[in-house]
Amino acid sequence: MSRVPLPYSQKILELFRNPKNLGRMEDATVSAVAGNPQCGDMITFYLKINEQEIIEKATFESYGCAANIATSSIATEKVKGMKLEDAWKITWKSVAEEVGGLPAVKFHCGILAVGALRRAIRAYYKNKQIAPEWLPKELTFEEKQALEEEELARILEKKMKMAEEK
């Protein structure tokens, strides 16, 4: 049972109730997923990107908690009209600040949102087979964390399955 007290901010509650830019985008230029159903957190980011590498539209779908829905909503709002290079610079911390702060157990929800955004940007360049200078080769913090969470969930599920079979 959920035992962690979650004093969500008003902003989170508001975005949870009325998320912006919600839903699948059929004509997206690119999309990316972070998390998986095993984590209990999973988010998909859709971006529509024009010739000038400007994000014309961003939407999301989230199988995550209220904090994940709120941070995803903020992230999609923020990147609208941005150049990819600038959108890349958005960090989970800035997103978390904008929703009025996140409790520690909910950091990963914001991290996943930004992780999905960065994966989408990376996917865009990978599809185009170009590597802009500003795009780091190494995975950034948010991307690594998303990867780690996915890995953890897989290990945990395996472990629990094994324990069961014993």
Partner: protein, 407 residues
């Protein structure tokens, strides 16, 4: 932080109806119980029951009368067998640690099931650090313990077995009498404990009939006050104290007795047992109305635990696929329906309930699970209201998860 919570509370203003179904985690105390308790704070029996003055003797009398009543409902031989503790967690700790301290040197094996409450799971885990081994009996897809495996697991080295009578999360009514026989046949010296917190006042049973050595019961699960529970310890079974201090009327739990709560526990027991059969029928009705209503109105749901007679009369536990549990509890709360979800968020991961994993639920099924318990105070109208609110909540959240999770 508190500021945030105040805002959250404000968001609940103007609710047209409220239905509290989170009896698993805490409960409301009915007025009848409250009224029985109140005089014991300032009108009478506020003394220490071990002391030689009127308020002390009054307290002694009140505690003994309460123990007498509860021992009757439990089917004990005598009221001496009822030991009050500050709750279910404490009673389970006392049972496990008290018994293993007593039996040290005689054996090193503890047998439990995979679906015990955390106050059993975590304490046994701790005991493994002190040389004990723990064997966890698997359960089937409805949560019933595998009696064959129990038979295999119990051996001459086994000192303690703990199996809860009714599963706290999915309501499985376990064959405790049979399990007890199996254990005693293999090792008559093994102590058999059952956490009966979800059985007491909800299904008819008697500790003597079950043949158990120890049983835990809890007050708030039958709508008594929080902070009080009891451990039945059969006459002749010796266990040690796990806390030391001034011993009063409770030989296994030192410190000053909390007379008002003990009185409240006894009163709540009386109310639960007064018309037990009728109460059970009422709860079962509401339970099935809720389960059937959910299955009629919402697609892609799974019932966790068995159906019908083998399920606790109050328990409803359902997984809503493509719906995140915590988000669902918040959405429901904003609409006046209070429930809990089967996953607890740790720092990085949503940790699915060990009970749901044990019955073979996939993680994504466990994450979207909701636990609800009905009481004799709930009405058909309450359930109608839940059935009005719940489908909308699920639909909205599934709208947010959209195509992210496809099976």
């Amino acid at each position: 932080m508190v500021e945030n919570v105040r805002e959250l509370l404000k968001a609940h203003e103007g609710l047209k109806r409220e239905v509290y179904l989170d009896i698993e985690n805490s409960s409301m105390v009915p007025t009848e119980v409250l009224e029985a308790i109140l005089p014991y704070f300032n009108k009478r029996a506020y003394g220490n029951p071990t002391l030689t003055h009127k308020p002390g003797w009054e307290a002694f009398e009140a505690i003994m009368e309460s123990a007498q009543k509860i021992s009757g409902f439990l089917g004990c031989k005598s009221l001496e067998e009822v030991n009050f503790t500050p709750g279910e967690t404490e009673a389970n700790n006392l049972a496990l640690l008290g018994a293993t301290l007593q039996t040290r040197g005689k054996g090193k094996k503890i047998v439990i099931s995979e679906v015990e409450p955390l106050s059993i799971m975590h304490v046994t885990e701790m005991l493994t650090k002190y040389g004990f081994t723990v064997s966890k009996i698997p359960v089937d897809s409805e949560g019933f313990i595998n009696l064959e495996r129990l038979k295999e697991a119990v051996d001459g080295n086994t000192v303690f077995v703990s199996l809860s009578a009714v599963n706290h999360e999915i309501g499985t009514i376990q064959p405790i009498k049979e399990a007890q026989k199996i254990v005693k046949d293999k090792n008559p010296n093994a102590i058999f404990h059952t956490d009966a917190s979800d059985a007491y006042g909800k299904i008819p049973f008697s500790v003597q009939d079950l043949g158990v050595d120890m049983a835990t019961i809890s007050s708030y699960k039958i709508l008594g006050p929080r902070g009080i529970g009891a451990l039945y310890v059969k006459e002749g079974v010796n266990i040690e104290r796990i806390l030391e201090g001034q011993i009063g009327t409770q030989k296994l739990w030192p410190g000053v007795e909390n007379t008002p709560l003990i009185v409240g526990f006894a009163k709540a027991s009386e109310l639960a047992f007064q018309n037990l059969e009728e109460n059970v029928r009422h709860m079962r009705n509401l339970r099935d109305k809720l389960i059937n209503g959910i299955f009629e109105k919402i697609a892609d749901v799974r019932l966790n635990g068995p159906k019908g007679e083998k399920r606790a009369p109050d328990n409803v536990n359902i997984s809503f696929l493509r719906c995140e549990g915590e988000a669902l509890t918040i959405e429901l709360s904003l609409n006046g329906v209070y429930v809990s979800s089967g996953s607890a968020c740790t720092r990085r991961l949503l940790q699915p309930s060990h009970v749901l994993v044990a019955i073979g639920r996939k993680f994504e099924e466990a994450h979207g699970s909701i636990l609800m318990k009905v009481t004799r105070y709930h009405t058909e109208e309450d359930i109608d209201y839940v059935l009005e609110v719940l489908p909308k909540a699920v639909e909205r959240l599934r709208g947010i998860s959209g195509t992210t999770v496809v099976e």
